[in-house]
Amino acid sequence: MTDQLTTSAQPAEPADSDGSAPPGRRPSRRPGPPRLVVAGRDLTLEAGFAVLLVAFVAIAGSTTDAFLTEGNLTNLLKQMVTTGLLAFGMLTVILTGGIDLSVGSVVAFSGIVAAGLSAGLPVPLAMLVGLAAGTGFGLVNGVLVARFQLAPFVVTLAALTTIRGLAFVYSETPVAPEKEGFFELGSAVLGPLPVSTLIMLAVFLVGGIFLSRTPAGRSLVAIGGSAETVRLAGIGVRRHVVLAYTISGACAGLAGVILASRVGIAQPSVGTAFELDAIAACVIGGASLAGGKGSVRATFAGVLVLALINNLLNLYDVQSFWQQVLKGLIIVAVILVQRTGRFRTAGAPNPADPGKARLS
C-alpha cells in the first residue's frame, strides 16, 4: 500500500463488502485546472472571485460613468447590507443541512415593530426590540426543527407566512418614524464607509471566527455532515441546530431594523423573496444545501457578486422583469463555472454521500 499522497489521494482499497464507495468519486489522476496555493492554503476559489469582481468593476467602470461615482458606490455598499446579513445567517443554517425561508418576513416584522415602537420608546430600545423579535422567531424555528424533528423547509415556510401576517397585523400601512434618530443607523458614515456596512462586515468577521474557530461553530459544520456522528461523539446536536436558526433570526432582525432606518419608512410588505438572494449568495459561495459545506469568505463574495449584478442592471436601466431573468441566468452561470472546476479536481460527486440522502 502506498503511503504517499501527492496530487492524487491514496486510493482506498477496493471496497469489498463496502459497496457504498463508488470509485468514480476517487480523485482522478488527470491534472485539474491549476490551483493557486499560497502558504499551504488553496486560495483558488478566493482568487477566482477576486478576478470575477475585478472584471465586474472594470466592465462597469468602462461602460457607464455612473458606476464609479461616490454616490453610487456608497449606495452599493448600503444596499448589500441586507443581503449580507441575511446570507450569513442563512449560511449557518445551511451548514447544519437546514434552510431558513422565513428571513424576508422577519425583515419586515422587525423593521415595522422597531419603527412603530420608536414613537413611544427611545430609538435604541425600539430597535433592540426589533432585533429581539427576529431572534425570538429564529429560536422558535430552531426548536421546531431540532426538538420536534420537523423538516426545516416546512417549519420556515410556515414561519414565512405567519410572520408576514403578523407584520400586517401590526400595521397594514407603512409606518413612518418621526424621530430623526431612527434614520441614523442606516445613513451614518464613518470615514468613507457607511456604519451599516461596517456592522455587516463585523458580523462576517466575528461570524467567520465563530464558525471556523469555536467548538460550537465546528459542531454546526460537523452536524451538517453527519448529525449522528456528532451525537455519538457526545455533542448536543439539538442545541446547536437551535443556535443556528437563532443566529439566522437575529441577523434577519438586524437587517430589518437597518433597512427600515435606511429607507426611512417601514413597510409590512418589504423583504419578499429576500431569502432567495440570501440562499443564492451562499450557493454562489459554494455552500451545499445538503449541509456540512460552505465558506464564510466565499459567501461574502457571493453577496458582492449579487450586489454588483443588481447595481449594474439598474445603472444600465434594464427593465425590472428582465433584471430578474438576467440575475437568475448569471447565478446559474457562476455556479456552473465553479462546479466544473471542482468536479475536475475533486472527482464526481458521490451519490452515496450520506449527507445528500437527507436533503430536506
Partner: protein, 523 residues
C-alpha cells in the same frame, strides 16, 4: 438447452484499475451452464469489483467477457440485464415504501386499456413468480419495508429472475453474500432454489464468506486474493482450512495476537436490558483486560444493543453500570455522577463521561463526518474541551492528532489536513479509533470494526485491541465474521433474535458451535 456442459460464461484477462491503482490483475473465469461457481476471498481481495463488472456497474479496464461463446460488452447494468446476467447485491435495493409486486414488476407492469396498471394481474403475476421459486409464503401486496430482512432478500432474488416481455430469462445469476441474512429454513430454501436453477441450466456465481455452504453448494471453487485468482478447485478436493489459508495467504494464527491472561475487575455490567422489538433481557459483564466477542446474524439485535448500552437509544428496562471511572486501571475514584449505581446512560455524552466509547458499524454514516478533515474527525470527541478561552486550541489539537496518527500509523502520515474521505477504508477506521482513544475510554465497544478493511489493517487493529486490553481496557468486539469473533477474543457471546443464547470460551469453541447458537440449531 441441449447440453448442460455448455460454457455459459467466460472471462479472460480482466483487469480493473481505479486511477493508478489496479485492483484486478487479469482474472480468468469459466463457468458452464448449471454450475455453481463459488468465489471466495478475504475483504479487499477484489470480489466486489469482479461482481460489479459482471453486473455492468463498472467497466473493465482490459479483458473480455463471453456469454455462450459470444463476446459481449457490458456498458451499463441495463446491458448486463439484457444479456441475462442478473445480480443480487449484498445491499438490499428494494424500495421499502412500495409493495412486493411493485418492486418485482417495476417498469413492466401489465396494463389495461387506457394505459392504467392492471393491479389484479400484477399481483397475480408476482404471486406466480414467488411461488415458482418456492417463496410462495410472501404476500405480494405487502410493502417491502415490512418484510423481514431475510424475506426482502428472497424478493431481491425473485426480482433478479423476472423475465420481462419475452426477453431471455437469466442465464447467469450472481449472488453476492446471499446467505448473510439468512438462517435455518430460509437458508434451506435458498439452497433448494439454487439447485432448481442449476437444473434449468442457469450458471450461478456464488460469492460468500461462509466456507461451509460454499463447499456444500459449489461445483467449482475459485479463490481470489489481491486481485488474482490464486486457486481453482473442486469442493471434494479441498477443505475449509485450505481455503482459509489460500484466502489469507498465511496461517490464521498469525492474524490474531495471542490470547490474554485472566480478566480483571468488571468495568461494565449490563443487566436485564430490554428494548421492545430489538432485544430483551440482556445481561453480561465486560472485564478489564479482556476482549469479549458478540456474534449474531443481521437482525439479531447486536448493533441495537451496543447503541443502547452507549445511551444512543433509550431502553425499556434494565441497567448499565460502569464501574468507577479512573484514569489508571484499578483506581476507584469516582467522576461526578458518571458512575456507580444502577442506571442507564441517557445520552452518548453521559456514556463517554463514564469511560465508554463506541465504534459504530457504518463508519461512513455514523463514524466520520466525511466532508471534514482527518484532524477534525479525530478531534470531534474532544471538541468541547480542547479550548483556550472561547476559541478552539488548535495547537493542542494538532499535537493530539499528530500523536494519534503516529501511534496508530494512519497513512498517509500527513493526513491531518486532508479530507477524511480521501483515506482508504482501513485508515478511515483507524481515524475512528483514534477519535475514541482520545477520550481515554476504559470500555471500548466496536461494531464490525474490520468490515471493508484490508487484511494488513485488520491485523493491526487486532494487535491494537490486544494492547488496549492488556493495558486494562474492557473490549467488546461485535462481529458477524466467525473466524474473527473466535480468533480475536477471549470469550464469545452469541445473540439470536434479540436474546443472548450462549457464552462460550473462544479457544475451545468451533465456528459451527457459534453458528448453531446464532441460528438456533443447538444439538
Amino acid at each position: 438447452m441441449s447440453s448442460t456442459a455448455r460454457t455459459a460464461l467466460e472471462i479472460r484477462g480482466v483487469r480493473k484499475a481505479y486511477g493508478s491503482t489496479e485492483v484486478l490483475h487479469g482474472v480468468d473465469l469459466t463457468g458452464r451452464a448449471g454450475d455453481v461457481l463459488a468465489v471466495v476471498g478475504a475483504n479487499g481481495a477484489g470480489k466486489s469489483t469482479l461482481i460489479k463488472i459482471l453486473a455492468g456497474a463498472e467497466r473493465m479496464s482490459a479483458g473480455e467477457l463471453r456469454l455462450d461463446g459470444e463476446r459481449v460488452e457490458l456498458r451499463s447494468p441495463h446491458d448486463a440485464h439484457a444479456h441475462g446476467i442478473r445480480t443480487v447485491h449484498q445491499e438490499l435495493t428494494l424500495v421499502p415504501q412500495l409493495s412486493v409486486t411493485e418492486n418485482l414488476l417495476m417498469g413492466h407492469f401489465p396494463r389495461r386499456f387506457g394505459g392504467l396498471i392492471d393491479w389484479r394481474a400484477a399481483h397475480a403475476r408476482a404471486r406466480e413468480l414467488l411461488e415458482s421459486i418456492g417463496y410462495g409464503a410472501i404476500d405480494p401486496r405487502t410493502r417491502a419495508g415490512r418484510l423481514t430482512v431475510a424475506r426482502q432478500q428472497m424478493v431481491e432474488i425473485a426480482k433478479a429472475l423476472v423475465s420481462e416481455g419475452g426477453r431471455a430469462g437469466p442465464r447467469v445469476l450472481v449472488l453476492d453474500e446471499p446467505s448473510a441474512v439468512l438462517a435455518g429454513g430460509d437458508l434451506e430454501s435458498l439452497f433448494t432454489l439454487i439447485r432448481r436453477l442449476q437444473r434449468r441450466g442457469v450458471l450461478i456465481v456464488y460469492v460468500s464468506h461462509r466456507l461451509a455452504e460454499v463447499t456444500e453448494l459449489a461445483t467449482t471453487i475459485v479463490v481470489i486474493k489481491d486481485g488474482r485468482i490464486v486457486a481453482e478447485t473442486a469442493p471434494e478436493r479441498t477443505d475449509e482450512n485450505e481455503l482459509i489459508r489460500l484466502m489469507a495467504g498465511r496461517g490464521p494464527g498469525r492474524l490474531y495476537p495471542a490470547r490474554r491472561p485472566d480478566a480483571g475487575e468488571p468495568l461494565l455490567t449490563v443487566s436485564g436490558l430490554h428494548r421492545p422489538g430489538e432485544f430483551r433481557d440482556i445481561s453480561f459483564t465486560l472485564r478489564a483486560g479482556e476482549i469479549t466477542g458478540l456474534f449474531g446474524l443481521v437482525g439479531s439485535g447486536r448493533s441495537e444493543l451496543a447503541r443502547c448500552v452507549f445511551g444512543a437509544e433509550p431502553a425499556h428496562a434494565g441497567s448499565v453500570t460502569a464501574s468507577a471511572v479512573g484514569t489508571a486501571p484499578g483506581s476507584t475514584s469516582e467522576a461526578a455522577g458518571a458512575s456507580g449505581g444502577h442506571r442507564l446512560f441517557r445520552s452518548p455524552r453521559e456514556a463517554i463521561a463514564a469511560g465508554l466509547a463506541l465504534v459504530t458499524e457504518d463508519r461512513k454514516r455514523t463514524g466520520l463526518v466525511l466532508g471534514l478533515s482527518t484532524a477534525e474527525n479525530i478531534g470531534l470527541t474532544t471538541l468541547r474541551t480542547t479550548t483556550r478561552g472561547p476559541l478552539l486550541d488548535t495547537g493542542r489539537r494538532r499535537r493530539e492528532v499528530t500523536a494519534m496518527v503516529e501511534r496508530l500509523d494512519i497513512r498517509p502520515a500527513h493526513c491531518a489536513g486532508l479530507p477524511v474521505r480521501t483515506l482508504s477504508g482501513g485508515n478511515q477506521q483507524k481515524a475512528v479509533l483514534a477519535k475514541w482513544l482520545l477520550t481515554g475510554p476504559r470500555v471500548l465497544l466496536l461494531d464490525e470494526p474490520t468490515r471493508g478493511v484490508d487484511m494488513a489493517t485488520r491485523a493491526e487493529i487486532y494487535r491494537m485491541l490486544d494492547e488496549l486490553a492488556r493495558a486494562g481496557m474492557a473490549v467488546l468486539l461485535i462481529s458477524s465474521d466467525l473466524t474473527e469473533v473466535l480468533g480475536a477474543t477471549d470469550r464469545v457471546l452469541v445473540m439470536r433474535e434479540g436474546r443472548l443464547t450462549a457464552e462460550l470460551p473462544s479457544d475451545r469453541t468451533t465456528e459451527d458451535t457459534v453458528l448453531a447458537h446464532a441460528i438456533g440449531h443447538t444439538a
